[in-house]
Protein backbone atom coordinates (compact mmCIF):
# COMPACT_ATOMS: atom_id res chain seq x y z
CA UNK A 1 0.00 0.00 0.00
CA UNK A 2 2.93 2.24 0.83
CA UNK A 3 4.29 1.76 -2.70
CA UNK A 4 1.07 2.98 -4.33
CA UNK A 5 0.88 6.02 -2.03
CA UNK A 6 4.46 6.97 -2.90
CA UNK A 7 3.81 6.59 -6.60
CA UNK A 8 0.62 8.68 -6.42
CA UNK A 9 2.50 11.44 -4.59
CA UNK A 10 5.26 11.31 -7.19
CA UNK A 11 2.75 11.53 -10.04
CA UNK A 12 0.91 14.45 -8.41
CA UNK A 13 4.02 16.47 -7.56
CA UNK A 14 5.63 15.91 -10.95
CA UNK A 15 2.58 17.00 -12.94
CA UNK A 16 1.87 19.93 -10.64
CA UNK A 17 5.38 21.19 -11.38
CA UNK A 18 4.76 21.08 -15.15
CA UNK A 19 1.01 21.74 -15.04
CA UNK A 20 0.65 23.82 -18.23
CA UNK A 21 2.74 21.36 -20.22
CA UNK A 22 0.75 18.44 -18.78
CA UNK A 23 -2.60 20.01 -19.64
CA UNK A 24 -1.47 20.89 -23.17
CA UNK A 25 -0.23 17.32 -23.59
CA UNK A 26 -3.64 15.98 -22.54
CA UNK A 27 -5.43 18.34 -24.95
CA UNK A 28 -3.11 17.20 -27.76
CA UNK A 29 -3.97 13.58 -26.89
CA UNK A 30 -7.70 14.33 -26.92
CA UNK A 31 -7.40 16.00 -30.34
CA UNK A 32 -5.43 12.98 -31.60
CA UNK A 33 -7.87 10.38 -30.27
CA UNK A 34 -10.93 12.31 -31.47
CA UNK A 35 -9.30 12.64 -34.91
CA UNK A 36 -8.46 8.92 -34.95
CA UNK A 37 -12.06 8.09 -34.06
CA UNK A 38 -13.33 10.27 -36.92
CA UNK A 39 -10.78 8.96 -39.42
CA UNK A 40 -11.27 5.28 -38.54
CA UNK A 41 -15.04 5.51 -38.46
CA UNK A 42 -15.08 7.19 -41.88
CA UNK A 43 -12.61 4.74 -43.42
CA UNK A 44 -13.68 1.41 -41.84
CA UNK A 45 -16.84 -0.18 -40.52
CA UNK A 46 -15.74 -1.30 -37.07
CA UNK A 47 -18.27 -2.46 -34.48
CA UNK A 48 -17.81 -1.15 -30.91
CA UNK A 49 -15.13 1.28 -32.10
CA UNK A 50 -15.32 3.64 -29.14
CA UNK A 51 -14.76 0.86 -26.58
CA UNK A 52 -11.85 -0.64 -28.54
CA UNK A 53 -10.24 2.75 -28.99
CA UNK A 54 -10.54 3.53 -25.27
CA UNK A 55 -8.91 0.22 -24.34
CA UNK A 56 -6.14 0.89 -26.85
CA UNK A 57 -5.62 4.36 -25.38
CA UNK A 58 -5.23 2.97 -21.84
CA UNK A 59 -2.82 0.33 -23.17
CA UNK A 60 -0.78 2.81 -25.19
CA UNK A 61 -0.52 5.52 -22.53
CA UNK A 62 0.48 3.01 -19.82
CA UNK A 63 3.30 1.46 -21.86
CA UNK A 64 4.66 4.68 -23.35
CA UNK A 65 4.53 6.53 -20.02
CA UNK A 66 6.70 3.78 -18.52
CA UNK A 67 9.14 3.95 -21.43
CA UNK A 68 9.48 7.74 -21.12
CA UNK A 69 9.98 7.41 -17.36
CA UNK A 70 12.72 4.77 -17.73
CA UNK A 71 14.42 6.76 -20.50
CA UNK A 72 14.53 9.93 -18.43
CA UNK A 73 15.80 7.95 -15.43
CA UNK A 74 18.59 6.48 -17.55
CA UNK A 75 19.49 9.96 -18.81
CA UNK A 76 19.64 11.43 -15.32
CA UNK A 77 21.29 8.29 -13.81
CA UNK A 78 18.48 7.83 -11.26
CA UNK A 79 18.16 4.29 -12.57
CA UNK A 80 21.26 3.27 -10.59
CA UNK A 81 19.47 4.27 -7.40
CA UNK A 82 16.35 2.34 -8.38
CA UNK A 83 18.30 -0.81 -9.31
CA UNK A 84 20.00 -0.77 -5.90
CA UNK A 85 16.77 -0.38 -3.90
CA UNK A 86 15.43 -3.02 -1.53
CA UNK A 87 12.36 -3.33 -3.76
CA UNK A 88 13.17 -4.59 -7.24
CA UNK A 89 12.68 -2.46 -10.33
CA UNK A 90 9.69 -4.62 -11.29
CA UNK A 91 7.97 -3.95 -7.95
CA UNK A 92 8.45 -0.21 -8.30
CA UNK A 93 7.20 -0.22 -11.86
CA UNK A 94 4.21 -2.31 -10.80
CA UNK A 95 3.19 0.57 -8.55
CA UNK A 96 3.67 2.98 -11.41
CA UNK A 97 1.62 0.78 -13.74
CA UNK A 98 -1.35 1.07 -11.36
CA UNK A 99 -1.04 4.86 -11.40
CA UNK A 100 -0.72 4.96 -15.20
CA UNK A 101 -3.69 2.64 -15.71
CA UNK A 102 -5.86 4.75 -13.40
CA UNK A 103 -4.79 7.91 -15.23
CA UNK A 104 -5.63 6.27 -18.57
CA UNK A 105 -9.01 5.14 -17.21
CA UNK A 106 -9.87 8.69 -16.10
CA UNK A 107 -8.76 10.22 -19.41
CA UNK A 108 -10.57 7.61 -21.50
CA UNK A 109 -13.65 7.78 -19.27
CA UNK A 110 -13.94 11.55 -19.63
CA UNK A 111 -13.50 11.24 -23.39
CA UNK A 112 -16.10 8.47 -23.68
CA UNK A 113 -18.60 10.47 -21.60
CA UNK A 114 -18.03 13.55 -23.79
CA UNK A 115 -18.56 11.47 -26.94
CA UNK A 116 -21.73 9.87 -25.57
CA UNK A 117 -23.30 13.12 -24.34
CA UNK A 118 -22.45 15.02 -27.52
CA UNK A 119 -24.08 12.23 -29.49
CA UNK A 120 -20.96 11.58 -31.57
CA UNK A 121 -20.70 7.90 -30.73
CA UNK A 122 -22.19 5.11 -28.60
CA UNK A 123 -20.24 3.05 -26.11
CA UNK A 124 -21.15 -0.57 -26.71
CA UNK A 125 -19.66 -4.03 -26.53
CA UNK A 126 -20.85 -7.33 -27.92
CA UNK A 127 -19.84 -9.14 -24.74
CA UNK A 128 -22.20 -10.95 -22.42
CA UNK A 129 -21.83 -10.02 -18.75
CA UNK A 130 -20.01 -13.28 -18.01
CA UNK A 131 -17.38 -12.55 -20.69
CA UNK A 132 -16.42 -9.13 -19.37
CA UNK A 133 -14.15 -10.41 -16.55
CA UNK A 134 -12.51 -12.85 -19.00
CA UNK A 135 -11.80 -10.01 -21.42
CA UNK A 136 -10.34 -7.78 -18.71
CA UNK A 137 -8.18 -10.61 -17.35
CA UNK A 138 -6.73 -11.20 -20.81
CA UNK A 139 -6.35 -7.50 -21.47
CA UNK A 140 -4.49 -6.84 -18.22
CA UNK A 141 -2.29 -9.91 -18.69
CA UNK A 142 -1.32 -8.81 -22.17
CA UNK A 143 -0.84 -5.23 -20.98
CA UNK A 144 1.59 -6.28 -18.24
CA UNK A 145 3.57 -8.54 -20.58
CA UNK A 146 4.02 -5.64 -23.00
CA UNK A 147 4.68 -3.20 -20.18
CA UNK A 148 7.56 -5.16 -18.67
CA UNK A 149 8.93 -6.08 -22.09
CA UNK A 150 9.02 -2.39 -23.05
CA UNK A 151 10.81 -1.51 -19.81
CA UNK A 152 13.41 -4.25 -20.29
CA UNK A 153 13.92 -3.22 -23.90
CA UNK A 154 14.58 0.33 -22.77
CA UNK A 155 17.04 -0.88 -20.11
CA UNK A 156 18.89 -2.88 -22.76
CA UNK A 157 19.02 -0.28 -25.55
CA UNK A 158 18.68 3.01 -23.55
CA UNK A 159 16.47 4.57 -26.26
CA UNK A 160 13.36 2.79 -27.42
CA UNK A 161 10.59 5.42 -27.57
CA UNK A 162 10.41 5.50 -31.38
CA UNK A 163 10.39 1.72 -31.59
CA UNK A 164 7.58 1.55 -29.02
CA UNK A 165 5.54 4.20 -30.85
CA UNK A 166 5.99 2.24 -34.08
CA UNK A 167 4.85 -0.94 -32.26
CA UNK A 168 1.82 0.95 -30.95
CA UNK A 169 0.89 1.98 -34.51
CA UNK A 170 1.21 -1.68 -35.47
CA UNK A 171 -1.08 -2.71 -32.59
CA UNK A 172 -3.62 -0.03 -33.51
CA UNK A 173 -3.89 -0.62 -37.24
CA UNK A 174 -2.54 -4.05 -38.14
CA UNK A 175 -2.71 -6.42 -35.17
CA UNK A 176 -6.47 -6.03 -34.91
CA UNK A 177 -6.54 -4.38 -31.51
CA UNK A 178 -8.71 -1.67 -33.12
CA UNK A 179 -8.35 -1.89 -36.91
CA UNK A 180 -7.48 -4.95 -38.96
CA UNK A 181 -6.13 -3.14 -42.04
CA UNK A 182 -4.21 -6.09 -43.48
CA UNK A 183 -6.62 -8.88 -42.47
CA UNK A 184 -4.14 -10.70 -40.25
CA UNK A 185 -5.61 -10.24 -36.79
CA UNK A 186 -6.01 -13.95 -36.04
CA UNK A 187 -2.22 -14.33 -36.00
CA UNK A 188 -1.77 -11.88 -33.12
CA UNK A 189 -2.64 -12.21 -29.45
CA UNK A 190 -4.01 -8.67 -29.27
CA UNK A 191 -6.34 -9.36 -32.21
CA UNK A 192 -7.56 -12.58 -30.61
CA UNK A 193 -8.18 -10.87 -27.29
CA UNK A 194 -10.03 -7.98 -28.95
CA UNK A 195 -12.20 -10.38 -30.92
CA UNK A 196 -13.81 -11.17 -27.53
CA UNK A 197 -15.34 -7.67 -27.66
CA UNK A 198 -17.17 -8.52 -30.88
CA UNK A 199 -19.07 -11.43 -29.34
CA UNK A 200 -18.88 -15.12 -28.67
CA UNK A 201 -17.70 -16.22 -32.14
CA UNK A 202 -14.06 -16.68 -31.21
CA UNK A 203 -14.61 -18.00 -27.71
CA UNK A 204 -13.51 -21.51 -28.67
CA UNK A 205 -10.05 -20.08 -29.33
CA UNK A 206 -9.75 -18.70 -25.85
CA UNK A 207 -8.00 -21.61 -24.12
CA UNK A 208 -5.39 -21.53 -26.91
CA UNK A 209 -5.01 -17.78 -26.49
CA UNK A 210 -4.69 -18.19 -22.71
CA UNK A 211 -1.95 -20.78 -23.08
CA UNK A 212 -0.15 -18.63 -25.67
CA UNK A 213 -0.36 -15.52 -23.48
CA UNK A 214 0.97 -17.40 -20.46
CA UNK A 215 3.76 -18.95 -22.52
CA UNK A 216 4.88 -15.64 -24.03
CA UNK A 217 4.76 -14.03 -20.59
CA UNK A 218 6.78 -16.82 -18.93
CA UNK A 219 9.49 -16.87 -21.60
CA UNK A 220 9.78 -13.09 -21.54
CA UNK A 221 9.86 -13.03 -17.75
CA UNK A 222 12.69 -15.56 -17.49
CA UNK A 223 14.69 -13.83 -20.23
CA UNK A 224 14.26 -10.36 -18.77
CA UNK A 225 15.07 -11.48 -15.25
CA UNK A 226 18.41 -12.73 -16.44
CA UNK A 227 19.02 -9.56 -18.42
CA UNK A 228 18.23 -7.19 -15.56
CA UNK A 229 20.24 -9.24 -13.07
CA UNK A 230 23.17 -8.90 -15.45
CA UNK A 231 22.50 -5.18 -15.63
CA UNK A 232 22.62 -4.83 -11.84
CA UNK A 233 25.89 -6.79 -11.67
CA UNK A 234 27.44 -4.49 -14.24
Amino acid sequence: MNLFRTEFTRFYLYNRRYLVNYISGIIAEYVYIFGLHLAISSAYQIPHLLFKLMMYWIFQSTVSNAVYAVESEIRTDYIVGILNQRLSLYHIYFGRAVVYILEGLVKAGVFALAMIFSGAARLSTGMAASQIPIYFAFFLGYLFINYYAAIALTLKFNRSATFISCYMMFLLFISGMVVDAAGVKRFFLSGRITSLVDGAADCANMPVTAILTALVGAVLFLYLRRKTLLLIDR
Binding site: V20, N21, S24, G25, I27, A28, V31, Y32, F34, G35, L36, L38, A39, I40, S42, A43, Y44, R159, T162, F163, S165, C166, M168, M169, F170, L172, F173, I174, V179, A181
Partner: protein, 252 residues
Protein backbone atom coordinates in the same frame (compact mmCIF):
# COMPACT_ATOMS: atom_id res chain seq x y z
CA UNK B 1 24.77 31.54 -50.10
CA UNK B 2 23.66 28.36 -51.89
CA UNK B 3 26.91 26.70 -50.91
CA UNK B 4 26.33 27.45 -47.23
CA UNK B 5 22.83 26.01 -47.48
CA UNK B 6 24.06 22.90 -49.27
CA UNK B 7 26.92 22.32 -46.82
CA UNK B 8 24.62 22.72 -43.84
CA UNK B 9 22.11 20.28 -45.36
CA UNK B 10 24.85 17.73 -46.05
CA UNK B 11 26.02 18.07 -42.45
CA UNK B 12 22.49 17.44 -41.18
CA UNK B 13 22.07 14.42 -43.45
CA UNK B 14 25.38 12.99 -42.19
CA UNK B 15 24.14 13.53 -38.65
CA UNK B 16 20.96 11.62 -39.47
CA UNK B 17 23.02 8.47 -39.99
CA UNK B 18 23.79 8.43 -36.28
CA UNK B 19 20.10 8.03 -35.48
CA UNK B 20 19.26 5.66 -38.30
CA UNK B 21 17.24 3.22 -36.16
CA UNK B 22 15.14 6.02 -34.71
CA UNK B 23 14.58 7.32 -38.23
CA UNK B 24 13.57 3.93 -39.62
CA UNK B 25 11.05 3.28 -36.83
CA UNK B 26 9.62 6.80 -36.95
CA UNK B 27 9.09 6.54 -40.71
CA UNK B 28 7.69 3.02 -40.38
CA UNK B 29 5.07 4.18 -37.88
CA UNK B 30 4.09 7.05 -40.18
CA UNK B 31 3.87 4.56 -43.05
CA UNK B 32 1.49 2.33 -41.06
CA UNK B 33 -0.63 5.36 -40.06
CA UNK B 34 -0.83 6.82 -43.57
CA UNK B 35 -1.41 3.48 -45.28
CA UNK B 36 -4.14 2.35 -42.89
CA UNK B 37 -5.98 5.66 -42.98
CA UNK B 38 -6.05 6.04 -46.76
CA UNK B 39 -6.10 2.47 -48.09
CA UNK B 40 -9.89 2.18 -47.92
CA UNK B 41 -10.65 5.33 -49.96
CA UNK B 42 -11.40 5.48 -53.72
CA UNK B 43 -8.77 6.26 -56.40
CA UNK B 44 -9.33 10.03 -56.61
CA UNK B 45 -9.46 10.45 -52.85
CA UNK B 46 -6.35 8.30 -52.54
CA UNK B 47 -4.49 10.63 -54.89
CA UNK B 48 -5.63 13.72 -52.98
CA UNK B 49 -4.75 12.06 -49.66
CA UNK B 50 -1.32 11.10 -50.94
CA UNK B 51 -0.39 14.69 -51.84
CA UNK B 52 -2.05 16.08 -48.71
CA UNK B 53 -0.11 13.69 -46.46
CA UNK B 54 3.06 14.59 -48.34
CA UNK B 55 2.54 18.28 -47.60
CA UNK B 56 1.48 17.54 -44.02
CA UNK B 57 4.73 15.63 -43.45
CA UNK B 58 6.70 18.80 -44.28
CA UNK B 59 4.24 21.25 -42.80
CA UNK B 60 4.09 19.55 -39.38
CA UNK B 61 7.86 20.01 -39.16
CA UNK B 62 7.28 23.60 -40.27
CA UNK B 63 5.11 24.17 -37.22
CA UNK B 64 7.65 22.48 -34.88
CA UNK B 65 11.10 23.49 -36.07
CA UNK B 66 11.12 27.30 -35.69
CA UNK B 67 9.72 27.04 -32.15
CA UNK B 68 12.29 24.37 -31.32
CA UNK B 69 15.15 26.49 -32.70
CA UNK B 70 14.10 29.63 -30.82
CA UNK B 71 13.63 27.67 -27.57
CA UNK B 72 17.11 26.18 -27.84
CA UNK B 73 18.61 29.60 -28.59
CA UNK B 74 16.80 31.09 -25.60
CA UNK B 75 17.93 28.37 -23.21
CA UNK B 76 21.55 28.54 -24.40
CA UNK B 77 21.41 32.35 -24.44
CA UNK B 78 23.01 32.09 -27.89
CA UNK B 79 20.17 34.31 -29.12
CA UNK B 80 22.35 37.20 -27.97
CA UNK B 81 24.86 36.28 -30.68
CA UNK B 82 22.14 36.59 -33.30
CA UNK B 83 21.16 40.04 -31.96
CA UNK B 84 24.75 41.18 -32.20
CA UNK B 85 25.29 39.83 -35.72
CA UNK B 86 24.19 41.62 -38.88
CA UNK B 87 21.62 38.92 -39.76
CA UNK B 88 18.13 39.26 -38.32
CA UNK B 89 16.49 36.41 -36.37
CA UNK B 90 13.80 36.17 -39.05
CA UNK B 91 16.43 35.56 -41.72
CA UNK B 92 18.23 32.97 -39.58
CA UNK B 93 14.95 31.09 -39.07
CA UNK B 94 14.19 31.18 -42.82
CA UNK B 95 17.63 29.72 -43.65
CA UNK B 96 17.38 26.98 -41.03
CA UNK B 97 13.88 26.17 -42.32
CA UNK B 98 15.19 25.75 -45.87
CA UNK B 99 17.87 23.37 -44.55
CA UNK B 100 15.15 21.43 -42.72
CA UNK B 101 13.07 21.14 -45.90
CA UNK B 102 16.08 19.74 -47.80
CA UNK B 103 16.82 17.13 -45.12
CA UNK B 104 13.11 16.25 -44.89
CA UNK B 105 13.11 15.64 -48.62
CA UNK B 106 15.78 12.95 -48.18
CA UNK B 107 13.64 11.29 -45.50
CA UNK B 108 10.32 11.70 -47.31
CA UNK B 109 11.29 10.23 -50.70
CA UNK B 110 11.64 6.59 -49.51
CA UNK B 111 8.60 6.86 -47.22
CA UNK B 112 6.28 8.23 -49.88
CA UNK B 113 7.77 6.00 -52.58
CA UNK B 114 6.76 2.93 -50.58
CA UNK B 115 3.40 4.50 -49.77
CA UNK B 116 2.71 5.19 -53.47
CA UNK B 117 3.46 1.55 -54.32
CA UNK B 118 1.33 0.21 -51.45
CA UNK B 119 -1.63 2.47 -52.26
CA UNK B 120 -1.24 1.93 -56.05
CA UNK B 121 -1.30 5.69 -56.68
CA UNK B 122 -2.25 6.54 -60.28
CA UNK B 123 -0.28 9.66 -61.22
CA UNK B 124 -1.69 9.51 -64.76
CA UNK B 125 -4.77 11.40 -63.52
CA UNK B 126 -2.71 14.62 -63.56
CA UNK B 127 -1.12 16.16 -66.68
CA UNK B 128 2.51 17.32 -66.66
CA UNK B 129 1.69 21.04 -66.51
CA UNK B 130 -0.88 20.33 -63.81
CA UNK B 131 1.82 18.48 -61.88
CA UNK B 132 4.17 21.49 -62.09
CA UNK B 133 1.40 23.78 -60.81
CA UNK B 134 0.62 21.32 -58.01
CA UNK B 135 4.31 21.28 -56.96
CA UNK B 136 4.29 25.08 -56.78
CA UNK B 137 1.16 25.19 -54.62
CA UNK B 138 2.39 22.40 -52.35
CA UNK B 139 5.61 24.43 -51.86
CA UNK B 140 3.57 27.55 -51.08
CA UNK B 141 1.46 25.66 -48.54
CA UNK B 142 4.55 24.25 -46.85
CA UNK B 143 6.08 27.74 -46.77
CA UNK B 144 2.87 29.08 -45.19
CA UNK B 145 3.14 26.42 -42.49
CA UNK B 146 6.74 27.45 -41.80
CA UNK B 147 5.67 31.10 -41.56
CA UNK B 148 2.97 30.09 -39.07
CA UNK B 149 5.66 28.20 -37.15
CA UNK B 150 7.83 31.31 -37.08
CA UNK B 151 4.89 33.28 -35.71
CA UNK B 152 4.38 30.71 -32.93
CA UNK B 153 8.11 30.62 -32.25
CA UNK B 154 8.10 34.33 -31.48
CA UNK B 155 5.57 33.58 -28.73
CA UNK B 156 8.18 31.43 -27.00
CA UNK B 157 10.24 34.55 -26.29
CA UNK B 158 7.64 35.35 -23.66
CA UNK B 159 6.28 31.92 -22.65
CA UNK B 160 9.61 29.99 -22.99
CA UNK B 161 7.89 26.62 -23.66
CA UNK B 162 5.51 26.31 -26.60
CA UNK B 163 6.24 22.82 -27.96
CA UNK B 164 3.18 21.09 -26.46
CA UNK B 165 0.99 23.82 -27.92
CA UNK B 166 2.55 23.12 -31.30
CA UNK B 167 1.84 19.39 -30.96
CA UNK B 168 -1.86 20.26 -30.47
CA UNK B 169 -1.71 22.16 -33.78
CA UNK B 170 0.08 19.29 -35.57
CA UNK B 171 -2.55 16.77 -34.45
CA UNK B 172 -5.30 19.20 -35.34
CA UNK B 173 -4.00 19.78 -38.86
CA UNK B 174 -3.66 16.03 -39.50
CA UNK B 175 -7.26 15.20 -38.71
CA UNK B 176 -9.40 18.32 -38.97
CA UNK B 177 -8.01 20.57 -41.67
CA UNK B 178 -8.72 18.46 -44.72
CA UNK B 179 -5.53 16.38 -44.80
CA UNK B 180 -7.39 13.08 -44.73
CA UNK B 181 -11.01 14.13 -45.23
CA UNK B 182 -12.97 17.36 -45.23
CA UNK B 183 -14.36 17.98 -41.74
CA UNK B 184 -16.71 20.95 -41.77
CA UNK B 185 -19.25 20.44 -39.04
CA UNK B 186 -17.95 22.91 -36.47
CA UNK B 187 -17.74 26.70 -36.82
CA UNK B 188 -14.48 26.94 -34.82
CA UNK B 189 -12.85 24.34 -37.08
CA UNK B 190 -13.99 26.23 -40.20
CA UNK B 191 -12.48 29.48 -38.88
CA UNK B 192 -9.18 27.77 -37.96
CA UNK B 193 -9.04 26.19 -41.42
CA UNK B 194 -8.97 29.66 -42.93
CA UNK B 195 -5.57 30.10 -41.23
CA UNK B 196 -4.05 26.73 -42.06
CA UNK B 197 -3.12 26.12 -45.70
CA UNK B 198 -4.39 22.54 -46.06
CA UNK B 199 -8.09 22.93 -46.73
CA UNK B 200 -7.57 25.08 -49.83
CA UNK B 201 -4.78 22.81 -51.07
CA UNK B 202 -7.21 19.89 -50.96
CA UNK B 203 -9.78 21.92 -52.88
CA UNK B 204 -7.07 22.75 -55.42
CA UNK B 205 -6.11 19.08 -55.89
CA UNK B 206 -9.76 18.05 -56.24
CA UNK B 207 -10.37 20.75 -58.87
CA UNK B 208 -7.15 19.77 -60.67
CA UNK B 209 -8.17 16.12 -60.90
CA UNK B 210 -11.74 17.06 -61.84
CA UNK B 211 -10.55 19.48 -64.55
CA UNK B 212 -12.34 22.49 -63.01
CA UNK B 213 -11.19 26.13 -62.88
CA UNK B 214 -8.32 26.57 -60.44
CA UNK B 215 -8.17 30.37 -60.24
CA UNK B 216 -10.04 30.86 -56.95
CA UNK B 217 -8.28 28.26 -54.80
CA UNK B 218 -4.88 29.15 -56.31
CA UNK B 219 -5.31 32.85 -55.54
CA UNK B 220 -6.41 32.07 -51.97
CA UNK B 221 -3.20 30.07 -51.44
CA UNK B 222 -1.11 32.98 -52.82
CA UNK B 223 -2.93 35.58 -50.69
CA UNK B 224 -2.48 33.47 -47.54
CA UNK B 225 1.21 33.01 -48.23
CA UNK B 226 1.88 36.74 -48.77
CA UNK B 227 -0.30 37.75 -45.83
CA UNK B 228 1.41 35.29 -43.48
CA UNK B 229 4.85 36.44 -44.65
CA UNK B 230 4.06 40.07 -43.80
CA UNK B 231 2.26 39.30 -40.53
CA UNK B 232 4.90 36.88 -39.23
CA UNK B 233 7.72 39.33 -40.03
CA UNK B 234 6.11 42.19 -38.12
CA UNK B 235 4.85 39.92 -35.33
CA UNK B 236 8.38 38.65 -34.75
CA UNK B 237 9.70 42.23 -34.72
CA UNK B 238 7.03 43.22 -32.19
CA UNK B 239 7.76 40.24 -29.93
CA UNK B 240 11.49 40.90 -30.11
CA UNK B 241 10.96 44.50 -29.03
CA UNK B 242 8.91 43.31 -26.02
CA UNK B 243 11.54 40.68 -25.24
CA UNK B 244 14.30 43.27 -25.16
CA UNK B 245 12.32 46.07 -23.51
CA UNK B 246 10.97 43.98 -20.62
CA UNK B 247 14.28 42.19 -20.07
CA UNK B 248 12.86 38.66 -20.45
CA UNK B 249 16.38 37.55 -21.28
CA UNK B 250 17.17 37.25 -17.56
CA UNK B 251 13.98 35.36 -16.67
CA UNK B 252 14.44 31.87 -18.12
Amino acid sequence: MTRILLNESLRQIAEMKKYKFNLIFANLSLLILFYSLSSSFGTENKLANFFMLFSWYFASHGLYIPAYIVEEELIDRSIVNIFMSRTSLFKVLIFRSIVQVITDLVKAVPLFGVLAILLKIDLGLISFSGFLGLTLYICLSIASAYLLGIMISSLSMIFTRTNEFVSILANFTLFFSGTLFAYNSNIAVIILNKIFPFHDLRTYIKQLVGGESLALSASIIWIRFIGLAIISYFFMKFMLSIYIKKEYMWKI
